[in-house]
Symmetry: C2
Subunit: 311 residues, 2 copies
């Protein structure tokens, strides 16, 4: 998939990205490729990451401080773990221009909205966002310009948010290839609990269970992983800090959905124990249809085995 050609006129004067990991560096790459900003500014708390971003040429300016990064910025996007949002908001608050938009890319929206509003002054437009896209890799080298193509980016503006500011942020995401949806932070956090957070938790969990069994060696788990287990190790290789913060900041929804998952799993276990084959067969048939729908709307490849290289 390729990006649309660059714009004749940038959408944003100064675009500042704080946090140059997988998502932050992908925003920088997409914005640069399509010339979406007059000036691209990037900052990361880690000096080594700033140096790497400079080497990669990811921005017009790699700022030395958060203050320098956001000074005069029209749109600021925080691409740091959810648990770090409050501290970053506090650090930039005195330096963000009135009328600027401050957004983010965190996988949790209720807690982030509260953290940003606790620190940022009245005249700043706080509009949290979440592009539902990523890979299992982290850091400034992991990003790529087409990461958001044909993916959904969810914005969760608070009640009474400035419509023009929402439209400008939405336009930026569209220009990076994303489809934009607007919903409340509460609904976002519930939807993502089932489509992302609980899947990650159970993937992390089964990899842990497998590692801890006494009567199956780790070497056997690794050798015979092509039977299904290896699929789970991909998302269980995602960034530990990011995911710790997701679970700590979306506790209620995660625990609610996890309760349903466990209830359903115990019912399945009981069906196995009592040899209720029809119950198993019915579920296993129903689940096929959902994958077909995901493929049909272009959110998944139809290639066998995800198109993994064979052999």
């Amino acid at each position: 998939m390729v990006l649309d050609p660059p714009l004749a006129q940038p959408l944003v004067g100064r675009l500042a990205v704080i946090g140059i990991g997988l998502i932050g560096s992908s925003i920088l790459r997409a914005a640069a490729a399509r010339k979406l900003a007059g000036t691209l500014i990037a900052y990361d708390g880690d000096a080594a990451v700033r140096a790497r971003a400079a080497t990669l040429g990811l921005a017009d300016l790699i700022a030395a401080t958060p203050a320098e990064a956001v000074a005069g910025a029209d749109i600021v996007i925080l691409c740091v773990p959810v648990g770090a949002m409050g501290a970053v908001a506090q650090a930039i608050a005195p330096h963000v221009a009135p009328g600027a938009i401050v957004s983010d890319v965190g996988s949790v929206k209720g807690a982030v909205l509260n953290a940003l509003r606790a620190h940022l002054p009245e005249g700043v437009h706080v509009i949290p966002g979440h592009p539902v896209a990523g890979t299992e890799y982290s850091g400034p080298d992991a990003g790529f310009a087409t990461l958001f193509q044909n993916r959904w980016s969810i914005l969760t503006p608070p009640e009474g948010a400035d419509a023009d500011a929402v439209a400008r942020l939405s336009g930026l995401w569209s220009a990076m290839g994303a489809n934009v949806e607007i919903m409340t932070p509460e609904h976002h956090d519930l939807v993502l609990a089932i489509t992302s957070h609980v899947p990650h938790l159970i993937a992390y969990n089964i990899v842990g269970t497998a590692a801890d069994l006494e009567n199956v060696t780790q070497s056997e788990v690794i050798k015979y992983s092509a039977g299904g287990f290896r699929d789970f190790t991909r998302i269980a290789a995602s960034d530990p800090t990011m995911w710790r913060d997701v679970f700590l900041n979306n506790r209620a929804a995660v625990i609610e959905v996890l309760g349903r998952f466990t209830e359903d799993l115990i019912a399945l276990q009981r069906a196995i124990r009592w040899a209720e084959g029809d119950k198993l067969f019915d579920l296993f048939t129903r689940t096929r249809a959902i994958r077909r729908s995901i493929i049909e709307i272009g959110q998944e490849t139809a290639e066998p085995d995800f198109g993994r290289e064979r052999g």
Copy 2:
């Protein structure tokens, strides 16, 4: 990945494959590509599948009956769901030549060994097997000749099995590109419970849970599935009959491993409830290492997102 060149001299005189699905048709294709058998014979209980196999040219002879398929065969490989093994063994028993090898490709080995031995006469070498390979697709069109390349094929010969027969079957799998391991049926069933059966069960389960939530629509689950959920839908799209039979025939090991999984998951849920971030972080770090090992031994691609086509 490519196959080694064809052999000058076939390894097997007559090779019969019963059941022409993903695995059966892959065996036929691999054996044909490398000329591993003097004559390739195939049979399927479904007339439409037999017709399709004939169209695809999958064998030298598409037999009309199980009896015809196994008559004079040196090696017979049963590629039917685990629950069908007993009936197929009974159907072929009067027609298998003494000294022939009867094997299978089922994902459960204890129950299959019992089912085969209950029906096959003394002079036949019963050596169950299981190639740990596959995709989420089913049927004669889904197979391909390189499916077994660099995958493990596990043989579970019963105590006292003929060493020469085991070596011949092992040689056939090696010639199809597989690495062969020998273990007991009991150990196989435990190892596969964690590397394959329980992963499939929890994938089926979370797809079911997601479909049944009242406050998140099915359309939302599908749209935002790129957050992790879609990975699970791949193995939850596997053949329902095959997987029903796996769970019904490996009950003890599946329930044992599932108990560990649930115990670990509830401990994780408690860590989330009590905001024990360090416990989460430690697990999420440990699981990364296991994926690295799977990639290092060539059982997984290092490409981000399994190398899925982007966008």
